[in-house]
């Protein structure tokens, strides 16, 4: 009976520890997943799969100083893996990775400003999903979600110069489509 109790206690601690570590980051991970996938459902699925994969690694995560960027990096690599698997799959799974743009609205400013910004947001979101994945990723992670360039060199395993030129080209493409 004692052993059973110990196992149960251990599992409770493990679940609580995982939740304590990860829960503060879920909203941001979801936002990032949405920027990658363009769909609420796919974003939720991606975050869910990440949590399932990371659950056994609670101890490792507890020792990571900046867990947010580490989780974002894990999410990015998981998404890359999913894309690769989907590309290699002999079966086409419908619209699994299609951009399913939701109707969302910007909310800042007064009524006139609201309408202008909303139109700009819609155009910008379409423009964002017209970028190639590398450009979209760097815009999403840097310009939108606020990860710094030094953080991104580690997260995306890409040199600083490459990231800067990607950002430059991506912003230029977005501006061109907004004009």
């Amino acid at each position: 009976m004692k052993n059973i109790f110990s196992i149960w206690q251990g599992r409770k601690d493990s679940a609580a520890g995982f939740e304590e570590l990860v829960a503060p980051h879920i909203e941001r991970l979801y936002r990032l997943a949405y920027r990658f996938s363009g769909s609420q459902h796919d974003a939720e699925d991606l975050v869910q799969e990440l949590l399932v994969k990371l659950y056994p690694r609670s101890q490792e995560m507890a020792s990571i100083e900046s867990l947010g960027p580490w989780l974002a990096k894990s999410l990015y690599h998981l998404f890359i893996d999913q894309r690769r698997r989907a590309t290699n799959s002999p079966v086409v799974l419908g619209e699994e990775y299609g951009v399913e743009q939701e109707s969302v609205a910007c909310v800042n400013g007064g009524p006139d400003m609201h309408m202008i910004r909303q139109q700009q947001c819609i155009k910008l979101e379409k423009a964002l999903f017209s970028l190639n994945f590398e450009q979209r990723t760097v815009i999403a992670m840097h310009d939108i979600e606020g990860y710094t360039l030094p953080e991104l060199t580690t997260m995306l395993e890409t040199p600083l110069g490459t990231l800067k030129s990607r950002l430059h080209r991506a912003r230029a493409a977005l501006r061109e489509q907004l004009a």
């Binding site: 196992i7 599992r11 493990s14 679940a15 995982f18 939740e19 990860v22 829960a23 879920i26 909203e27 979801y30 936002r31 949405y34 920027r35 609420q40 459902h41 796919d42 974003a43 939720e44 699925d45 975050v47 869910q48 799969e49 949590l51 399932v52 990371l54 659950y55 056994p56 698997r85 799959s89 002999p90 079966v91 799974l93 419908g94 619209e95 699994e96 939701e102 969302v104 609205a105 910007c106 909310v107 910004r117 700009q120 947001c121 910008l124 964002l128 815009i139 840097h142 310009d143 939108i144 606020g146 710094t148 360039l149 800067k164 950002l167 430059h168 912003r171 977005l174 501006r175 907004l178």
Partner: protein, 227 residues
């Protein structure tokens, strides 16, 4: 500093990539150049618009649900077998509509699979066996865009999708019964929860059952018959 130089370095400044001295030189130029102040303001407005681009909210209770599932998916081998068929429920738009159930007749003559709709079932599969499991959905009308999501435990794979623990796609349902056949491969001995989620938009229904993969009982194996 000249205007061209400032505009060349503007992104680096906004990305916090300039030294203090370079920033100071830029500020000095900006104090006297209205054109460059306009360029900076335009760039800042563009970035603000990017940051303000909204994301649709995750479905209600997503974070808590995702954490629960992560824990469940990793701890099912220790779970007692629970009987539960449906989790949550369709929202109003679908309450009157879709009904999910397992087709009991497809699980072989030994009746390994519990068939009651009000109980969570446990399907037992032998190691390295491929078992075709059928899920049946009854739709009240033709439905054009229904999302089907499968969440597989670590020890089981869907044939044709090695390594994938989560598979989702959109499909059409025809009025009446719609049967989804899933060939499941048992990879190793373990027990875990299989989840199928079907729905439209926020209205989704989950159904779960345990997949229990056991080592084959060699005492019951028949000797191969000679040709």
């Amino acid at each position: 500093m000249q205007c061209a130089e400032l505009q060349q370095q503007l992104n680096d400044k906004l990305d916090n990539q300039l030294s203090e001295a370079e920033c100071a030189a830029m500020d000095t130029h900006l104090a006297t150049c209205a054109d460059c102040r306009g360029v900076v303001a335009e760039e800042q407005a563009f970035r603000e618009l990017l940051r303000d681009m909204p994301v649709p909210d995750a479905s209600a209770g997503f974070a808590a649900r995702a954490l629960r599932r992560a824990a469940a998916a990793n701890a099912v081998s220790h779970h007692p077998v629970r009987n539960r068929a449906f989790m949550g429920g369709f929202a109003a738009a679908l309450v009157a509509g879709i009904v999910l159930w397992f087709v009991s007749g497809v699980f072989g003559p030994n009746g390994e699979f519990g068939t009651s709709q009000s109980q969570l079932a446990e399907l037992r599969i032998s190691l390295n066996e491929t078992r075709r499991v059928q899920l049946s959905f009854n739709a009240p009308e033709d439905m054009d865009r229904v999302r089907v999501s499968l969440f597989l435990p670590e020890h089981v794979e869907l044939e044709g999708y090695p390594g994938r623990k989560q598979i989702a796609w959109f499909t059409k349902l025809q009025k009446g019964d719609n049967v989804l056949t899933l060939p499941l491969n048992a990879l190793r001995s373990d027990k875990g929860v299989f989840t199928a989620k079907v729905g439209t938009g926020d209205d989704a229904q989950e159904i779960q059952f345990y997949l229990n993969v056991a080592e084959p009982d060699i005492s019951t194996l028949e000797a191969p018959k000679s040709a």
